[in-house]
Amino acid sequence: MAGSVLEVENLHVTFASPDGPVKAVRGLDFSIGDGESLGIVGESGSGKSVSMLAVMGLLPRNATITGSIRFRGQELLGRPEAELRKLRGGKMAMIFQDPMTSLNPVLTVGFQIAEAIEAHRPDTDRKGRLARAAELLDLVGIPNATTRVRQYPHEFSGGMRQRAMIAMAIANDPDLLVADEPTTALDVTIQAQIMAVLERAQEATGAAIVLITHDLGVVAGTADRVMVMYAGRAAETGTIYDVFGHSRHPYTLGLLASLPRLDDTGRERLVPIPGSPPSMVHPPPGCAFNPRCPYARALCKAEMPVLRPIEGTGQCSACHFAEDLNGARPT
């Protein structure tokens, strides 16, 4: 596909564990185009982080990964670590959730950014790298960048550390930027600032962004397209307006109905989704959501639904009865 940065096909990730194999990702398909912004939404156990860690090649050794992951047409699965390392931090970069622990406390921030530059551009000289580090800190909105470059992580606040992480990620002009819950550990006013920084980073590099989060509000504000994941599979994909306005999967509907909204004026009862997220060692047969789904029928337990495009819309849904839903709200 021309202009696509990342293509994932039939991705399966299984972990060995003393209780049996944990099927964290069970057949995931999606793709991201140049400069696009994709939000991956799901709760714990959905497999959203694991799937992107698989893309970056950052999973531990007890993980079995099958399927296909193509970055600009080149297959990543099965590549030797040395080649993956060339891509990681260069054309593909990742930002993690906890800014407190992602930075090395005994090295200055400037040094760590320069390190990221050096790993992919060994021809640059030290002075040039530090200057570039200061430039990047400035780009992400850290005041007094030239002084800050020589400071240590403990002298930075949580929000500033996350900005520094973003600076490190964009240091080598990536084509793909993965942000794994980048604002979950931050206060909401800082969260707003960081989301603005991410937007600016995307503009500066033209990179495609994958935003992994459990917060539907965050995704609503920044993503172009969104993929809702449940129990290791995609439940629904589509543009942000389609998925939020005309959901085609009961899980998405359930999530939206259970959220208290800041602009809710009434005291309407929240509608929770009954039950809890399933065990990934023994996921329910058929559609994994069927035990909690208010619309479940016999077919849902018998057959696992495939993610398919819904005619007349740009959405895809993994629900046998997606056509009948049309944005209805569950009672």
Partner: protein, 340 residues
Amino acid sequence: MTGQAVLEVRNLVKHFPITGGDIIRRRVGEVHAVCDVSFDLFPRSTLGLVGESGSGKSTIGRCLLRLHEPTAGSVRFEGRDVLAMKPKEMRRLRRELQIVFQDPYASLDPRMTVGAIVAEPLRVHRSGNGDGEVNDRVRELLRLVGLNPEHGNRYPHEFSGGQRQRVGIARALALDPTVIVLDEPVSALDVSIQAGVVNLLEELQDRLDLAYLFIAHDLSVVRHISDQVAVMYLGRMVEIGSRDDVFTHPSHPYTQALMSAVPVPDPVRERERPRVVLTGDLPSPSDPPSGCRFRTRCPKFAGQLSEGEQQRCIDEVPALVDHGTGHPAACHYAQALTVL
């Protein structure tokens, strides 16, 4: 809100010492966690206490139960002075004033069965005659919070986060309290589970005539459950009023910025909202700014005030009074703004 307040807090102050020194530890500084906070909690109502990290909201909750000893101020429960109580009296008070913690994984002793955890308050206070009555009460409580009473002999790690939080709530209800302090009770739970626990809390409030102090940073949940709302910043209360008042006409620049920053799961609204963006970072709580603590990040201070007006913000601590907007706000130049 009519009637007598069940909990009256006046001028509450809590400072934490910062110790240093080698052989003998000396006090080298103080963290001003809570400064001069006053509010009332009425029976059968919920006061939502909102703020971000460093606001002091959790500390207030713990001070009310004397899990931290306040540095100054007064707390009156049904007219009785809580801070002056002797240990025996305090123990009796604990039957009426309880707390539910944030982390469902850390607030339950992993070595005790869930039944034993819920029974502990009963055993500590020797309530109920003999094991039979205690066990019956435990089963009743588990049923009340929506758990299967047969599962009382299981351990916390066998339950999900939402279920564990229900156990914490059952424990808090064991002695039939009047007031429950809820410290971020749903923040650590999955989104689809939060709604169930919030509904349970509302149901219990109606059924058992409880008053809640609901401490949270999630404004959406607070809007849903509270009758009154108070906003905290860096140890001070900056705005307080009825829920509808505060949410539809926020008057303090911090409240406005806070509401502006909370994302709404609606792409159309989210992209069209007016934004009040804060600059800079939270000042250190051991060295807060003089006068109005919010002035270092306040968009009003930076953009709309004259020098003379700014000087007032630097010199004078703004009082939490109604400046004509309908409810108290601690800003010299408070102005109601519609942010949603």
